[in-house]
């Protein structure tokens, strides 16, 4: 396993000295996870492998943009993988978006006083949170992240009223907020 700090060290080693050994270590940890994540959304193994490869090359290119005080390595790599998935969908007929722009928007401005919320041990908290969600809430959240569906599409697919899906999302996000705010307390 790779801790959040170790992963951040590896990205910084790429940024400061183009460290290929650091890249290889990141690749071994994250490329199989990105591939699994993309396959969850319905892509075949070959396409998912290509996206994983492209996502990790983007990690190399953009390593200097990474800021460990603002996002954990896992969060940052997730956003890159998500953008690569959108690129794939673009080729299959979805309206394209500029994926690099999304990367920028995920970076808070330097004057944001509330940074580092997501750094460090947030994963532990979020994982605890996921364990605490109801099955109904978890299904909706997983469909959103893995299958790249809007809440409207999720409601249609589950044959649920839109209001039900909205309230499940809001309850789950309320718990997310509680879990992460706890972390900021001394």
């Amino acid at each position: 396993m790779l801790s959040a700090d170790e992963a951040a060290d590896l990205i910084e080693a790429i940024a400061s000295r183009q460290d290929r050994a650091a890249f290889a270590a990141l690749f071994r940890h994250y490329a199989p996870r990105v591939k699994a994540f993309i396959m969850r959304g319905g892509a075949d193994a070959e396409a998912a492998q290509e996206i994983a490869q492209e996502a990790l090359i983007m990690v190399w290119r953009k390593a200097a943009s990474f800021d460990r005080s603002r996002a954990s390595a896992g969060t940052w790599i997730y956003t890159i993988a998500r953008n690569k998935r959108i690129d794939l969908l673009r080729r299959t007929g979805r309206p394209p978006i500029d994926t690099e722009d999304w990367l920028t928007t995920f970076h808070p401005e330097p004057d944001d006083p509330d940074k580092s919320v997501l750094a460090g041990q947030t994963y532990t908290r979020v994982q605890e949170l996921l364990g605490g969600l109801s099955t109904d809430q978890l299904i909706v959240i997983r469909m959103a992240f893995f299958e790249d569906k809007t809440h409207t599409a999720i409601a249609e697919e589950l044959k649920l009223p839109l209001g039900t899906v909205k309230s499940r999302i809001r309850l789950a996000l309320g718990r997310l907020r509680d879990a992460l705010e706890k972390e900021n307390e001394p």
């Binding site: 998500r82 309206p95 959240i141 907020r177």
Partner: protein, 216 residues
């Protein structure tokens, strides 16, 4: 915290990458201007990251790493991007809008007393415009045939549903409304329309054929 935040389920759609380009741009601008929305989107990023980490891994051919390493020689590690500096005349434009502001973009007067900049995107299902209203001026009474996303980027406006300032986000379909720009700086807003809006006032009805031709 803005007085009119985007609904949380829409922020989830945005964070998971499910939105089309037009609505995604509207949410990106709201997120850029509203710290509370930004915090939630960041947390959603952490949630997505945690889901990806815990979902397990798929078998990967070891040769892929070798092939990837071999490609790195052609891929430079880019320097840290410079801080965003808005273009002169576009000081109100948050960073996510910058790439849409083509060099020849100008305010264009539109019948009805407001100005427009039409943004070109790849999103064929939405029409994306910047509107500018001088203080005290209004848009013709209109209702929305499809969903409309609005984000205020400068100044503010008031209609029967309330007062909207910088960063505020609204989403139709809604009842008829007649927004009037507040005193102070001209009101500038991004409008993302799913379908052309239908004007319902006496002048508006006359304008509908123009709307149909994409004037608005």
């Amino acid at each position: 915290m803005s007085r009119h935040p985007a609904p949380e389920e829409l922020l989830l759609d945005y964070a998971s990458g499910a939105l089309a380009e037009g609505p995604a741009l509207a949410v990106a601008l709201h997120v850029a201007l509203d710290p509370a929305a930004r915090r939630l989107v960041e947390r959603l990023g952490a949630l997505g990251g945690a889901l990806m980490e815990t979902e397990g891994d798929a078998a990967l051919d070891p040769a892929v790493l070798e092939r990837t390493l071999a490609r790195l020689g052609d891929v430079p590690v880019e320097p840290r991007p410079a801080p965003y500096v808005p273009r002169p005349g576009f000081e109100w434009a948050p960073p996510p809008l910058a790439r849409y502001l083509r060099p020849n973009l100008r305010w264009r007067r539109v019948l009805g007393g407001f100005e427009e900049m039409r943004l070109s995107t790849h999103d064929a299902a939405h029409q994306i415009s910047l509107l500018r209203l001088m203080p005290g001026r209004g848009l013709p009474v209109h209702r929305h045939a499809g969903t409309e996303h609005t984000v205020v980027l400068q100044g503010g406006y008031t209609d029967s549903t309330g007062n909207f300032g910088v960063g505020d986000f609204t989403m139709g379909p809604d009842s008829e409304h007649e927004p009037i720009a507040d005193p102070g700086d001209p009101c500038i807003a991004l409008i993302v329309l799913e379908k052309p809006i239908v004007l319902t006032g006496p002048i508006g009805r006359w304008m509908n054929p123009l709307v149909g031709r994409g004037w608005l």
